[in-house]
Symmetry: C2
């Protein structure tokens, strides 16, 4: 999951671990930052696996040695990224994964985009059902704070479902113009 995010970001441009972490904030959640305790080990693993290479930048002036490491995708890494983006299995619509998958929708084909959006929506609808049934069964037995928390949570889910509905409608409109399963990798009408 973090692996996907790292590959996706490095595909846009090579960068340092530090910058990677900052960009990750915008991509994950969008406000959730990853800790370095996860990022650096992950970068090492990706490097060992041959998906990225590091270009250590021992700055020229012998005296002041500032350690900087620029990471960049290898050909294998790009391949790996494509595989992961195309996959779109059930894990793609869990809370944390979904944000990452969505952030890289521009590099994902239209079919997979739609599958993920719909998977996410049904995941949320499932939660709605659980929540409403458990709330009505516990009617009166819970204090007002717990109730208020559940109410707010439920409203958040409903809001996300509405958001997804709009996105799905937009996607379908795009697909209608250029019907599914096109060979062209870059679907023309995406970024405005």
């Amino acid at each position: 999951m973090l692996e996907l995010a790292v590959l996706g970001l490095l595909n846009e441009s090579p960068m340092h671990g530090y910058e990677l972490n900052k960009r990750l904030k915008g991509v994950l959640g969008p406000f959730r930052a990853i800790s370095y305790g996860t990022l650096y080990p992950c970068l090492n693993a990706l490097q060992t696996a041959g998906f990225i290479t590091s270009d250590t930048d021992a700055s020229e002036t012998g005296a002041g040695r500032r350690k900087k490491t620029t990471y960049k995708l290898t050909a294998e890494g790009k391949e790996r990224l494509q595989e992961q983006l195309a996959e779109g299995g059930p894990s793609a619509w869990e809370d944390e994964s979904f944000g990452v998958r969505f952030a890289f929708f521009a590099q994902t084909d239209a079919e997979t985009r739609l599958r993920i959006l719909e998977g996410r929506r049904s995941r949320l609808e499932e939660r709605q059902e659980n929540a409403t049934s458990s709330m009505s069964s516990a009617r009166g037995r819970i204090d007002r704070y717990t109730l208020e928390l559940q109410r707010h949570g439920l409203e958040s889910v409903e809001r996300e479902v509405r958001w997804l509905n709009e996105l799905i409608a937009t996607e379908r409109a795009g697909v209608a113009v250029r019907p599914a399963r096109t060979r062209r990798t870059a679907t023309p009408q995406t970024a405005k």
Copy 2:
């Protein structure tokens, strides 16, 4: 964090690990369930620490032995819970912790409630600022999906801030009527 949730639930009534896990769903998130891989070790640790005791229920009819363990708070456990509830430090307004703390507001004194709500609010406002500044600085350099994700995330945060504002106003009204540290648990005028 999980420890607090367990103590809080067991304070309401003794129960099995399984039921504890189900109740946790309503309290954490409110849709996030804890895994048993966390719950059972936690219960063991709490027991070792002397905060809870287990009452194994080897059902009478010698033949069919169904293993059931009912957990319940000890006096030390109740004390521990009170300490934790009163604490309300900065960790109390992080995403996951906040939900749990809020769920047990009925057992928390008015002063702490207010402190936590305001802490949470300023935490969110901080995020808003980061987000808006990073969004405007990256103007145009990001694709429409990433942008849409950030927009939606920002809206979620704004929505939670409004929610907190209402809650804070309600709390203050309650405090004004019956100044801090009241014995009465239920504050009259709440959700509209």
